[in-house]
């Protein structure tokens, strides 16, 4: 048996179902975005910490040229080192596997990282999770386990054969397993900007096999270690660097700077901040909608409230009655939002799955998140309705019996300024009503604007990425391919590269691993020696304009300048981490744009002098004949010292694949959400206006105004507000996009905000369509106005 008041409540709710559904949709959208992003975040975090814990992910990573195995004991004695493992790691090129069918057509030069696992045992740190097959066995010389993404990209199964090229020697390996490493959850070839599973793989073999291939028997060139609890990682890193310096140590990095972990953490950081910002927008709009609608409900039901109180219902009962209404809406919305968020969160995790290779990545919505979602939607509802509910509770019955005081109007500001003297009477009605309820007008404008802002910011992100890619690949990186040598060579090596089949032009570059220090800040980057006349890698600023190479001093990428907190004019200390390892001070003369990664540049001759060497090259940027690409790949594979070759076309294709998919996903939901927001606001606005002013509009119909003319007054008001919301939305959208970009921005990834005019057009179109359609839905209510009935009632 439902209590009488509750029955009234359900009937009231049914009568205003359109409005309540519109609000519920806005709340549900907020809950859905919250649950989507927070559940994806939580799922990724759980997968990450489980993987790192179970597979004992190291805390510090160090590369070096070569050190005898005895140095390992010295390293292990460093205070604060808990566990330590030495390895042999080397870059190899891989012959296109025979097993790969479809993949082969698109494949360029495949590179791989050969990583050793201990001869006598399983690795203790960065252990491998075996997905298929097994780890290479002791004593079997040619066995290898592959990173799972690479194996899958080529359809390689245990038992298949893989040929790698090591120092011009072909080495035939038997695939025995498919594994996952915590070090390569997000696996990218060195120098790449985006993972390409077909072009880069990690190959795990026993230490003896890897060492023999590179002449590293009894030595190591890679160290990973964990830091004991309570120990200071920075102190450990300094000690490790000191010990490894004589052995060509390239500088140890903490886990935070380890590539795979850095990318994952950066993504999680973005998810966390957007997962807070986006739901807040929806819930703020929902709060205002609740406030406006409930204020109207209480005004409309003054008489009923009076009768209920006259018959002895307490203030608390009346307050609770209206409170229940919003709580019910909030709960229904929370349930809908949770269901949608669960599905969308699962879809989002699926988008991450190909990039983040965790042994277990399951999408789950934690009970805590469910609780948060319900509380947040209840809070939005109750905060919005609080004023109206209190007013209902406090309304003295005698006062409630009387009709509300007549509303007073005055001429609008526009009219008082003499600007609307020629406006027709219906236009004045519109203007005065808008001015009399400035707060509600503001809510409508802001509601529409927030829908627009949300949509525009998403489109702007997409535009900015496109713009950055275009700038990177057409202005900053104009080569077709970049070939990297394993070690620096005399300039004569350029001739060999230029003579390869299909090469039309070769531009040399010199790059050395350095550590740049400025005050308390330091970063490990590649310092490039460039020539002023560089055609393929011109110096450009953030707008794509050429700036010329720095004649003196050093130029830093904007990301690096920010990380070091320096501007042109400052002096930085450069510690070279290769060969003679000189250290020198140099003045920062310029800051240049780089969208991906951090870098530094010096004039090639100045760099050579600083390195105490003659002209040498680390590789070359090439222009090639695309028709002869396959021939060139084959030749590169067997060219001495070539350890990497990345083609612009491959990177572009991967970018388009990966951003296209996620941007499509995002744009779809943004359009949906913007429509829900704008539709919800406009629909409620129209319904409330119709309820408040139905009598007035019916009077005009009686006086002989046509339906279309009266609809013009109703929709004129509502569409005026929606139209005002569009430019405000554009401004907010630019702001939101800026915040989102700042969020996505990191030392490694920087994009200037760039919005295509078509995005403004799309936003305007979506907002206008949502406003027009929801207004027209309400017009039906106007057509059903009962002219006779309305005249009988007192205002």
């Amino acid at each position: 048996m439902i209590a009488l008041l509750d029955r009234k409540l359900l009937r009231d709710m049914f009568a205003m179902r359109g409005q309540l559904l519109a609000i519920a949709a806005v709340v549900a959208s907020g809950v859905a975005t919250l649950v989507t992003m927070r559940s994806a975040l939580g799922s990724l975090q759980r997968a990450m910490s489980a993987t790192y814990a179970v597979q004992r992910f190291a805390d510090v990573f160090a590369r070096l040229e070569r050190a005898p195995q005895s140095v390992a004991a010295e390293l292990a004695r460093v205070p604060g080192v808990a566990a330590l493992e030495t390895r042999v790691v080397a870059e190899v090129t891989v012959a296109p596997p025979e097993a790969s069918g479809a993949a082969a057509a698109t494949v360029g030069l495949i590179t791989g990282r050969f990583v050793s696992i201990p001869d006598d045992d399983r690795p203790y740190l960065d252990t491998l999770h075996v997905l298929r097959g097994r780890l290479p066995e002791l004593g079997r010389a040619n066995e290898v386990a592959l990173s799972d993404a690479f194996a899958k990209a080529h359809g390689l199964d245990p038992g298949d054969t893989l040929t790698v090229v090591v120092n011009e020697r072909q080495l035939s390996l038997r695939v025995v397993g498919e594994v996952l490493s915590p070090e390569f959850v997000y696996a990218m070839a060195p120098g790449s900007v985006i993972p390409d599973d077909a072009l880069f793989g990690v190959l795990f073999a026993r230490r003896r096999v890897v060492a023999a291939s590179f002449g590293m028997e009894g030595a190591f060139n890679d160290v990973i270690l964990t830091v004991a609890q309570g120990a200071e990682p920075q102190a450990v890193i300094q000690a490790v660097d000191r010990i490894l310096a004589p052995y060509g140590g390239l500088g140890a990095v903490p886990r935070a700077e380890q590539t795979s972990n850095w990318f994952i953490s950066n993504e999680l950081r973005q998810l966390a901040s957007m997962g807070g910002l986006l739901p807040s927008i929806f819930l703020a709009v929902a709060t205002f909608l609740f406030a406006v609608v409930m204020a109207r409900v209480v005004t409309q039901q003054r008489g009923e409230i009076a009768v209920l109180k006259a018959f002895g219902r307490s203030n608390v009962e009346i307050g609770a009655h209206f409170g229940k209404l919003v709580v019910l809406v909030a709960l229904v919305a929370a349930a809908g939002g949770l269901a949608a968020g669960r599905a969308m969160g699962s879809g989002m995790v699926d988008l991450y799955r190909p990039y983040f290779r965790f042994p277990r990545l399951e999408h789950t919505v934690s009970p805590r998140l469910v609780l948060v979602a319900v509380c947040v939607s209840l809070a939005a509802a109750l905060a919005g309705a609080a004023r109206a509910v209190l007013r209902a509770a406090k309304l003295p019955p005698a006062e409630a019996m009387r009709p509300p005081a007549p509303v007073s109007f005055r001429r609008t500001l526009l009219e008082r300024m003499g600007l609307a003297r020629r406006a027709s009477v219906p236009v004045r009605v519109v203007l005065r009503n808008l001015e009399r309820k400035p707060l509600r007008a503001l809510v409508s404008i802001l509601g529409t604007a927030s829908g627009g802002a949300l949509l525009l910011s998403g489109l702007a992100m997409s535009d900015s990425i496109d713009h950055a890619i275009a700038l990177q690949f057409t202005s900053a990186q104009r080569e077709d391919m970049t070939v990297t040598l394993g070690a620096a060579r005399e300039e004569g090596a350029l001739g060999a590269l230029a003579g390869l089949p299909g090469v039309r032009y070769a531009e040399p570059f010199r790059a050395v691993a350095v550590r740049i220090r400025a005050g308390a800040h330091e970063r490990r980057v590649a310092l490039e020696g460039v020539r002023d006349g560089a055609i393929l890698r011109p110096q450009i600023d953030l707008n794509g304009r050429r700036t010329g190479a720095p004649a003196t001093g050093i130029a830093l990428s904007d990301g690096l300048a920010e990380a070091l907190a320096v501007a042109p004019g400052a002096t930085v200390t450069v510690q070279v981490l290769e060969e003679r390892r000189p250290t020198f001070d140099v003045t920062v003369t310029a800051v240049y744009a780089s969208f991906v990664g951090m870098g530094a540049r010096m004039d090639a001759d100045a760099l050579a002098r600083a390195l105490h060497e003659g002209p040498r090259i680390s590789g070359a940027h090439l222009l090639i004949d695309p028709e002869r690409r396959a021939e060139l790949d084959d030749a590169l594979r067997v060219t001495p010292l070539v350890v990497g070759a990345s083609a612009r076309a491959d990177a572009l294709r991967r970018f388009e694949e990966s951003t296209g998919e996620s941007m499509g996903f995002m744009t779809f939901f943004l359009v949906l959400f913007a429509t829900v927001l704008v539709g919800g606001v406009v629909y409620n606005d129209a319904r409330i206006t119709l309820a408040e002013r139905g009598r007035e509009l019916a009077s005009m119909r009686v006086l002989g105004y046509r339906r279309s003319e009266v609809a013009g007054i109703l929709l004129g008001e509502i569409w005026t507000l929606a139209a005002l919301g569009i430019p405000v939305g554009a401004v907010f959208g630019v702001g939101l996009a800026w915040i989102a970009l700042r969020n996505a921005q990191s030392e490694m990834l920087r994009m200037p905000l760039d919005i295509d005019p078509s995005s403004f057009a799309i936003m305007t179109l979506v907002l206008a369509t949502a406003a027009v359609v929801s207004g027209l839905v309400c017009r039906r209510g106007l057509d059903r106005l009962d002219l006779v009935e309305v005249l009988k009632e007192r205002s």
Binding site: V425, E696, R701, G704, Y705, L791
Partner: protein, 248 residues
């Protein structure tokens, strides 16, 4: 429309049928019950007449007024306005009829709260073919001094006089008033009735006042009684009283 020439302002009573109702019936459902509001009404109303339609509540007088004013359609029967059949034109034709030929005055004034007195009148003159100016209309009801006030700043009687000015400003052929004094005290009611009478005299508009207040019948040219959905009486007053002489 040759009758137009006959309806000259200041002409007073003239025997030309402006509106003819034939065998009007109206049934409507109120919840579960079917209400027979009109059970066959025949009526002729002439140009310039001041007619009081008298009946108790529920007699069907409001329904009749709504049908004559083009706000509602009869279940059967027809209404002719100056020889044209109104009842077959549909919603669009009825709107046009109200817009051009009918003035309404209601018990609760139905002014637009966001518009001043003058603007409330202008609401009608803006869409009328041959209106008098809002200022002239307000002068007719003695409200020139209050023309820039909003409804919330006017008394009930003043609001009703604005409603009358609004109704006559388009020079309607037909002025329909539904209990125009129903919400007013007697003194104010008399002022409003004087304004109605003045408007009738000045413009020669056929004026139909419906009321349950018998006293008002004294000022009419013609008094039609309605009871239970039928015409129960139709008499001409030999001598008319001035509104000031009425009391209730």
């Amino acid at each position: 429309m040759t009758e137009d020439d006959a309806v000259t302002p200041g002409l007073g009573v003239a025997e030309h049928p402006v509106l003819v109702a034939r065998a009007l019936t109206k049934r409507y459902r109120m919840g579960e019950v079917t209400v027979h509001a009109l059970r066959g009404v025949d009526l002729e109303l002439n140009a310039g007449e001041f007619v009081v339609l008298l009946g108790p509540s529920g007699s069907g007088k409001s329904t009749l007024l709504n049908i004559l004013g083009g706000l509602d359609a009869p279940t059967s029967g027809e209404v002719e306005y100056r020889g044209g059949v109104l009842t077959t034109g549909g919603e669009r034709a009825l709107t046009q009829y109200r817009r051009e030929h009918v003035g309404f005055v209601f018990q609760f004034y139905n002014l637009i709260p966001s518009l001043t007195a003058r603007e409330n009148v202008a609401l009608v003159t803006e869409i009328a073919r041959d209106p008098i100016t809002p200022d002239e209309a307000l002068a007719l009801v003695g409200l020139s001094a209050r023309r820039d006030h909003f409804p919330a700043q006017l008394s009930g009687g003043e609001q009703q006089r604005v409603a009358i000015a609004r109704a006559i400003a388009k020079r309607p052929a037909l002025l329909l008033c539904d209990e125009p004094t129903g919400a007013l005290d007697i003194a104010t009611g008399i002022v409003v009735l004087e304004a109605l009478l003045a408007a009738n005299r000045e413009t020669g508009t056929l004026t139909l006042v419906i009321t349950h207040n018998r006293a008002i019948a004294g000022m009419a040219d013609r008094v039609i009684s309605i009871a239970d959905g039928r015409i129960a009486g139709d008499v001409r007053n030999a001598a008319r009283k001035a509104p000031a002489e009425l009391s209730w």
